[in-house]
């Protein structure tokens, strides 16, 4: 594939591209977010000027001649949205744009098609008349994801994903809730931080996609219950009381009008927070259930949304059994010595052949490996167990380690130690115990499960076979496991497009049966059984 290269903020960037794409489209495909625009990329605004330094491109288009002088064109200056490289091309960006904190959601993390979402995602031919937009927001502990829809045309305009600014109040939910409970001022600060993160994302969309924020008429927000209570500054203190985890918790904001003013959206806009099922089951899970249509399935289906708190739902074809397992942040690379989020530089995939001790790994992005993310850990552990370098208790054979660590990549000093394995074992045992607990409650066993839906970014690059080998997923044929990506956002979009139809949510609520894992009488024994790095079996 040909390469487009340029320098941005003193960094050399290289992007592979398919022939036929414009420079803007090539830039937009990456997460560099190097484009600027005052229009939808139809050559109308003339802002996205670039200089072609080397390489052949298509001839200047009519609308470029309108914005650029002959002299400029002779010096290789062009509009990024109109110029198609015909070979390797080196360019210089003639506008200044800093790297955004808000990125497009990678396509592979957004797999589910909502029924109405059959149109192309980026329709650039639409006119810029007064339109009305709707925004869906999935408020996560770590990330916030948004999607903007043009409501009249049922057209998905764009999406964004970025960090929830609340991380400065603690990485985990408990720490943030405790901080909020310390004082009303703290709680206010925490709420405003998230409101500002959303503002920042909307502004990014406004600037880069030329969307008039005042035309946003509807906002629908889903999230885990803790995040919703912190956003609405309401009932967050209940979240620290385990007795409330099974109860409904009101997260309806008293005054969402303030948020609208901050976000500079239409003063008439409706802002709705989709109410969670209970303390430990947020409306993000409701949205996920909606998007995956799990309660319409005729077969027994298991839904797992991996995270620090992994939500698990079992549809037994009549009832939806729901629980949440607090296994810690291992699936997001947390608590692991060389662990990291699934970001550029993360080892996310490891391949090997069964009869050879060699392996090779793949890294996200073009960067040098910096660490290992959750899906990389799954592969690494499956590899180590299969090669008998690690026993199913989670202990290394002494000859394979150097100073207690297995060296995965000597050059980049990436290794895995016993503690890392221990942390991962606990996380996966918590999830497996959640699954066993739901099965027990439904009077079923693992063999009854016909289909598994795995949600969340962790699931996207998950190797299903490896996950099965170490007991992270039940043993079920690979084709019956669906890696569904960000289902919470997809479900939230369905709610937005249905005018936040209460019936959709009510149907799910009426079928849901909440199970508190800490009341599971067999917890200790089942947890112990699930700590082994072995395939999940029916009770030993």
């Amino acid at each position: 594939m040909p390469i487009l290269s340029f320098v941005q903020e003193e960094k050399e960037q290289q992007i592979f591209f398919e022939m036929g794409a414009t420079i803007r489209e090539i830039l937009d495909k990456t997460n560099i977010m190097a484009t600027i625009s005052g229009c939808r990329g139809n050559g109308a605004c003339g802002l996205c000027t670039v200089q072609i330094i080397e390489g052949e491109v298509n001839k200047p288009q009519l609308n470029e001649q309108f914005h650029l002088s002959d002299d400029q064109i002779n010096h290789g200056i062009r509009l990024a949205c109109q110029t198609k490289p015909l070979e390797n091309v080196q360019i210089a960006l003639l506008y200044y744009v800093c790297e955004s904190n808000w990125k497009r959601i990678p396509e592979n993390e957004y797999i589910l098609d909502t029924a109405v979402n059959s149109q192309p995602l980026n329709n650039k031919k639409t006119e810029n008349k007064r339109k009305s937009y709707g925004v869906s927001i999935d408020l996560g502990t770590t990330n916030i994801s948004l999607a903007v829809w043009e409501l009249g045309k049922m057209l998905r305009v764009t999406d964004r994903q970025g960090l929830n600014g609340q991380y400065c109040f603690g990485a985990d939910v408990m720490t943030r809730l405790t901080a909020a409970c310390e004082s009303v001022e703290n709680a206010k600060k925490i709420a405003i931080t998230t409101q500002k993160s959303i503002e920042e994302a909307l502004l990014d969309i406004a600037i880069r996609e030329f969307i008039d924020l005042e035309a946003i008429e509807q906002v629908v927000i889903v999230g885990n219950t803790a995040m919703l209570t912190l956003l609405s500054e309401k009932n967050y203190e209940l979240m620290l009381n385990p007795e409330c985890w099974e109860k409904e918790i009101d997260c309806q904001p008293e005054d969402s009008q303030n948020w609208g003013e901050l976000w500079k959206i239409s003063p008439e806009a409706t802002i709705e927070v989709v109410q969670p099922l209970a303390g430990f089951v947020g409306s993000d899970l409701i949205a996920g259930i909606l998007a995956t249509q799990i309660i319409d399935q005729l077969d027994v289906t298991l839904l797992i949304d991996f995270g620090t708190n992994t939500e698990i739902a079992l549809w037994d074809t009549k009832k939806l059994w729901v629980t949440s397992a607090a296994g810690g942040p291992a699936f997001e690379g947390g608590g692991i010595s060389c662990g990291m989020h699934a970001k550029s530089g993360a080892i996310f995939k490891i391949d090997w052949t069964a009869d050879q001790p060699d392996y090779h790994f793949e890294v996200i992005g073009t960067a040098e490996p910096r660490g290992i993310c959750g899906s990389g850990m799954v592969d690494a552990i499956a590899y180590l167990v299969e090669q008998e370098k690690l026993n199913s208790n989670g202990r290394f054979q002494s000859q394979v380690t150097t100073e207690g660590s297995f060296i995965l990549d000597e050059t980049h000093k990436i290794s895995i130690n016993n503690h890392d394995i221990d942390v991962f074992q606990r996380a996966k045992a918590a999830v497996a115990t959640g699954i066993d607990c739901l099965l027990d409650n439904a009077g079923m066993n693992i063999a009854n499960i016909k289909k598994i839906i795995v949600c969340g970014a962790f699931g996207v690059s998950l190797n299903i076979e490896n996950a099965r080998k170490i007991g992270l997923l039940p043993e079920i044929a690979t084709q019956n496991v669906i890696l569904a990506g960000n289902t919470a956002l997809a479900g939230c979009e369905m709610l937005l497009l249905n005018g936040n139809d209460k019936d959709l949510v009510e149907t799910i609520k009426s079928k849901a049966e909440l199970i508190n894992l800490s009341n599971y009488s067999d917890f200790y024994d089942v947890f112990l059984k699930n700590l082994f790095l072995k395939p999940m079996r029916e009770q030993i």
């Binding site: 405790t178 130690n417 503690h419 394995i421 221990d422 606990r426 800490s518 947890f527």
Partner: protein
């Protein structure tokens, strides 16, 4: 001969092999070894070895749980009535206080304490302070162990000593441990000892018994 069997029993408990451990314990009993001896020379030695094995970076929850389970099975076999005739080292009361429902840490400490010769009274998880104080009053333990995985339980832990003294109980030392608590300090928590691992608590109790910490 029995010495050899005792060694094998220690090994079997350390690797967490329940069946093997029970077989060996049965053999020892059959050859006339007393339950007390099996506890002191078998189970307690195994616990000491596990302690060595579990330095911070080598810690593996599964292995500890397996060893604990094997030790408990042997104890159950030796004392089928459930009566720990030989809680010769005194009583320890354990609890996970109100606001926290994570009790694996406490359960592990419980196994290690029992296997090390202590009588344990377990107040369970999400335990109100009043209930804990009632138990302390009735059992007169040498120490109270408080385990906490999540931060919100900290304010509860802080109250225990004062409220205990308000009831006129001064004897028992208070030990704390667990993911959230061990990030604090013993001064902040107002406890007598803050344990990094379950084994630290055992060592602390042994020092108590040796009189090293008595004011």
């Amino acid at each position: 001969m029995t010495e050899e069997t005792m060694k094998l029993l220690v090994e079997a408990i350390v690797v967490g092999d329940c069946t093997q451990s029970l077989d060996l314990a049965r053999n020892l009993c059959d050859s006339g070894i007393s339950a007390e001896e099996i506890v002191v020379n078998g189970i307690e030695v195994a616990m000491a070895q596990l302690d060595e094995k579990c330095t911070m970076e080598q810690f593996n929850l599964l292995e500890i749980m397996l060893t604990g389970r094997a030790a408990m099975e042997v104890i159950k076999f030796l004392f089928p009535s459930g009566e720990m005739v030989m809680a010769r080292k005194g009583t320890v009361v354990l609890a996970v206080l109100e606001g926290d429902v994570h009790d694996i840490g406490k359960n592990i400490l419980k196994m290690i304490l029992i296997a090390s010769g202590y009588q344990v009274v377990d107040c369970g998880k999400n335990c109100p302070i009043e209930k804990l104080l009632d138990v302390i009053e009735a059992e007169k333990p040498i120490a109270v162990g408080l385990s906490g995985l999540i931060f919100p339980v900290i304010p509860m832990v802080k109250q225990v000593k004062e409220r205990m003294q308000a009831r006129g109980i001064y004897g028992p030392k208070i030990m704390a441990g667990g993911a959230a608590l061990k990030q604090s300090s013993k001064e902040n928590l107002n406890v007598d000892f803050l344990a990094e691992t379950a084994f630290d608590s055992v060592k602390y109790l042994e020092q108590l018994a040796g009189g090293e910490l008595n004011e």
